[in-house]
Structure formats: C-alpha cells, structure tokens
C-alpha cells in the first residue's frame, strides 16, 4: 500500500516528463536525448529561484514552479531554432546533436552552479497517517499502523500532475494551438501549404516538451535534491514509458507512466534497485525488438 502511494508519486513526475518526450516525438519525429537535461535544468533552476527569493518557502516554491519551466522552455525553443532547424529535423542527425546538447547543458550547469546537490524546502510538509484495513475477528477492521504515512506534499505532487495533464489534454483537443499541433503531426508539408508556420510550431512544441520535463523536476526537488547529473534516470525512464506506451501516443504514454511508476516503486521494494533497473531496461529493449510500435501503439503500415 505504501509502495503503491510512493509509486504514484514517482508515476506523477514521470508522466509529466515522459509526456514532454512523447509530444516532441509525436509532432516533430525527433528523439530528444537531451530531455533528461531539461529536467535537470528545471530542478537546478528551481533551487536557484527559491534560494534567491530566500525567506519564505511557499513564495520561493511558487516562483520556481512558474519561472523554471518557462526558462527551460525558452532555452529549448532557442536550441530548436539554432540547431535542430538547421539539421532539417533529420532523425539520425538530431539524435547526435541532442547528445551534444546533453553534454552542453549538463556541463554548463556544472560550471555555473557547481557539483553539489541542492535541496529545496517543500512549501508544506505534514505527515499524514494512513488507515489500513484487515479482516479481524469482528469482520473488516481499520488500523492506523505506525510507519504507514505519507506527507501532504507528496499528495500535492500527485494532484498537481493530474491538473497539468488535464490542462494539457484541453490544450491539445480544445484550443487552436492544439489543432495546429495535431495538423502538423499528421502531415507537416500539407500543414505548411495551409499556411501553418511549421517552424514556429516546432519551436513551441520543443519548448513545451522541455517545459513539461522541467515542471516534473520542480515538483520533485522538495523530495529529491537537485544535482547536475540527475537527468540520466528520468531520461531512461521516459524512454521506457514512451516506448511501452507507443511512440507518439499520448494516452499510451499516460498508461505506461502509471504502470512503470507504480511497478518501479513495487519492484524496488522487493528487489535491489539495480536488479529492478536491469529487468526494466532489458524488458523494454525486448518490447522494442518484438513490437517496435509499443505495447499500446497500432502497427504502422
């Protein structure tokens, strides 16, 4: 039960990060290897913003929640304009270029902010005890066992992720920007012919994708500290999610993120984390080998 709730927290952050990767792949057909670094950048900027604003944890956190994803999104959009556009979004070359981008972002962060892990204070953090149900002598009984608890902040993370997901869904299905994005995803050449500024759409999408990763990271820093090497795990997990969910399929991404997030929590309770990672990584590779369209994706003909 505790493992499930902890898993839900992991899944919430993961779903945002993976969604960013999925949108970028879905619309632009670009595999963004630097995605984990945008996540890391979001976390480090969250620490920077909240520590500059200083005194009040709530003010600092809210400011970080707004500013960090925005800044990261702008940086990503600039990278799209400066680099990816010039590669004409060629799949192989963009992968190599985003690997380069990964090192540039990671090492620039190291040079600017140093190698230390940085904590961010959560805006609120009460411990909540959780009830436990069990069949006893008098039928179903309710316990309040010691140790079975979660903090209010972690519940907030789950709620926040749900809100962001809903807004994203509204953005994509109900707004003009969403319509333009979907049109570009269907057929970028036709979209261009209909006067859609595909270049600008790509920049917005790339920025949005990175911003989502940063948002996930801001939510996570009160639980985990910000560090310049923290981008690797989210990148790997996001890849896993996007692959299992089906490349570019948004509902698949959500389902897969929940699945992986929850199972990551559960598996790591029973096995050593390394073994859990070995199993997860290997299984995902095998999924790609046998079903390249993902578990939930449809076959491309």
């Amino acid at each position: 039960m505790l493992a499930t709730l902890e898993g839900a927290v992991i899944a919430s952050v993961l779903v945002l990060t993976a969604m960013g990767l999925s949108i970028v792949f879905g619309v632009m057909r670009v595999v963004n290897v630097a995605h984990g670094e945008f996540y890391m950048l979001g976390a480090v900027l969250a620490w920077y913003v909240s520590s500059v604003l200083g005194v009040n944890a709530v003010v600092g956190f809210v400011a970080a929640l707004v500013l960090a994803p925005l800044l990261v999104g702008l940086i990503a959009a600039a990278a799209d304009r400066l680099i990816l556009k010039h590669l004409k979004y060629d799949p192989d070359r963009t992968i190599v270029a985003t690997i380069g981008l990964l090192y540039i972002i990671q090492q620039t962060t190291l040079m600017t902010f140093g190698p230390d892990a940085r904590p961010v204070a959560p805006p609120f953090n009460q411990r909540l005890a959780l009830p436990w149900f069990e069949w006893g002598e008098n039928g179903l009984e309710m316990f309040w066992p010691w140790g079975l608890s979660i903090t209010s902040y972690k519940l907030f993370v789950i709620a926040a992720a749900a809100v962001v997901l809903l807004s994203l869904w509204v953005l994509i299905t109900r707004t003009k920007l969403g319509l333009i994005m979907r049109a570009t995803q269907q057929d970028s050449e036709t979209a261009l012919a209909f006067g859609i500024p595909v270049g600008r759409v790509y920049s917005v999408v790339f920025g949005l994708g990175a911003g989502l990763a940063a948002l996930g990271a801001v939510l996570v820093v009160p639980i985990q500290q910000a560090h310049y090497l923290m981008g690797a795990d989210p990148l790997l997990l996001s890849f896993i999610v996007v692959i299992i969910g089906g490349l570019g399929s948004l509902p698949g991404t959500v389902v897969a993120a929940l699945l992986i997030g929850m199972s990551d929590g559960i598996i790591s309770v029973f096995f050593s984390p390394t073994l859990a990672k070995i199993i997860a990584t290997f299984l995902v590779a095998m999924v790609l080998v046998w079903r390249p369209q993902g578990l939930f994706g449809r076959a491309v003909t």
Partner: protein
C-alpha cells in the same frame, strides 16, 4: 599509380609515422599516443558498423567492456595467462555482439539506436549488480606482474607503445583490406541502399549480423588491450558516455574512412587534454564539437578531405 597502390602507401606511411613518433616524443606524449592507438582500435570497430554499414549503435561500450572484463576477470579470477585471457576478452565481445545483433537487427533506424542503448545500459547495470566480482564503479587493477607475455613486461613505456602499435597496425591494415574486399563493398551497398542490395541477391540480414559481430570483436580487442596495457578495469568504460565517444571520434575524423577513426581520437584526445587543464567541465567541449560537427561537417575531417582532395581514399 593505381588506387590500391596509393592507399597501401598511405596506410603504410601512417604506421611508419607512428613508429617514428615514439622516438621523437617525450614519454608523456608517447604514453598518450599508446592510449590513442588503443582507443582508435575501438573507433575503427565502431566505424565498421556506423561508417561502412550505416548502422548507428549507441551501445558499443558493452562490447568494449566485454573485452575489458572478459580479459580482466579471466586473469584476476580465472587465473588464466595473458594470451588466453586476451582471447577470452575478444570472444566475450564477439559473442555479446552476436546476441545483440541477432535481436537488435530486427529493428531499424531510431529503434535500433534505442535498443542498442538499452542493451548496453543493461550490461552496465549487470556489471554493477555483480559488484562482488567486478568491484562496480570502483573497478579493479590488474597487477603489473601478471601483465607480461613471453618474459616481456608490457608495463614499460616502450613495450606498451610497441604492443599498442602492433595491435593497432594489425586492425588498421586488416580493416583497410576488408573495406576494399567484396564483403566490405557489399556493406557499403547496404549503407547506401539496403533494399537495392537485397534485390541484387545479397542476404543483407546476414551481412549486417556479420558486420555487427566483427565490429563488436574489434571493440573487444580494444577493451582487452586497454586493460592489458593500462592495468585498470572499471564500470566507467561501460557507461553511455563510452558508447557516445566512438561516435564522436568517428564523426570528427570521418565516418566510412579508414584513417578517420585514428584522426578523430587524436584530435579529441588532445582537445580534452587541453581543455581539462582549463576547466573540470571538459565534456562541454565534446558536446559543442558534436553539435558543430552535425551542423557543419557531417562528413568529418577525412570525409571533407576525400570530397576535396583524395577522391580515391578508401
């Protein structure tokens, strides 16, 4: 002069220059050059698959590490003598490449890159998991006493340089001949247009698998040689970073050229050597080089040379 003569002469002069450099350079640089030659073997192994067959693997570190650990564990835990241990290293890499190739070659393009990346990540985690034997991130040292063959101590500067040069020379000449052979030309045909090659009656699947095994084998030679000559085996060499390095070297030097890998390693090594004296964030240079290369010189140094000066270059 025929093309074959010209290219033979070119490769010979590279080897002669490498011999000459040992006598001219101070020990610090000849030590570097030994390391560069070993890493260039790795880059050449990667180049078979990426440069000649057109398959971009992002998981070659697992083959380098297989060679390294195959060799290191065979000596330290298995108690094997040097040469059999070296052979075990090579075979581990080739075997791993065969399995990986059999599975990963079912995919193409982006999926192939991610599958190889994930297999390599699995291999890295396996090394960490068996930390009791591999000593994980910390790695282990192969004692100087065990690093000698037929009474020759491989840890001296000159023996190390000579061994690196011999191994490099063998791979260099063998690969230069291979890419001129019908097999090598068929790999190029697959790189250029796989469907056409298949419809000319070539079993492209089998060719790609052979290229993968050969590429893994050569990468394993490099890994085993690194452990043998520098006496250290560590999980760092199995990280994603060491899968990215050969890509960087080959792109810099020129994919699909025989001399490109050596040139790429050489430039990158001294670039990082130079920049790490200025900053700890030396990987920044690697990142910038990658981005700039993909944007402005996708053919690499030798590739641009081939386009402009030596059109006959193999």
């Amino acid at each position: 002069m025929t093309v074959a003569r010209k290219s033979g002469l070119l490769h010979l002069s590279v080897l002669v220059a490498l011999i000459g450099l040992f006598f001219m350079l101070p020990p610090y640089h000849s030590g570097n050059l030994a390391r560069i030659m070993v890493l260039a073997i790795y880059a050449m192994g990667f180049n078979i698959l990426f440069g000649y067959t057109g398959l971009l693997s992002l998981g070659h570190a697992m083959f380098f590490a297989a060679g390294m650990y195959g060799f290191g564990l065979a000596i330290n835990l298995g108690g094997f003598p040097l040469l059999p241990a070296f052979l075990i290293g090579m075979l581990s890499a080739a075997g791993l490449a065969a399995i990986t190739g059999f599975l990963a070659l079912r995919t193409t393009g982006v999926a192939f890159m991610i599958v190889t990346l994930m297999f390599a990540q699995t291999a890295y985690l396996v090394i960490l998991y068996f930390g009791a034997y591999t000593r994980g991130d910390e790695g282990f040292v192969i004692q100087t006493a065990k690093r000698s063959v037929m009474g020759i101590d491989l840890t001296t500067d000159s023996a190390r340089y000579a061994t690196a040069l011999i191994l490099f020379g063998l791979c260099f000449v063998a690969l230069a001949r291979l890419v001129q052979s019908p097999f090598g030309r068929t790999l190029v045909a697959i790189r250029e247009n796989e469907e056409r090659a298949r419809m000319l009656g070539y079993d492209t699947g089998a060719h790609k698998l052979k290229a993968m095994i050969l590429s893994g084998l050569i990468s394993g030679v490099a890994g085993a040689a690194y452990a043998m000559l520098f006496g250290y085996v560590g999980a760092t060499f199995a990280t994603v970073q060491y899968s990215i390095f050969p890509l960087l070297w080959v792109l810099l030097g020129g994919a699909g050229t025989t001399i490109g890998p050596l040139l790429g390693v050489f430039f990158m090594f001294y670039l990082i050597d130079f920049s790490s004296s200025l900053t700890t964030a030396y990987m920044l240079i690697a990142g910038i080089v990658l981005v700039v290369l993909t944007m402005f010189a996708p053919q690499g140094l030798m590739g641009e040379m081939r386009k402009r000066v030596f059109t006959w270059l193999p």
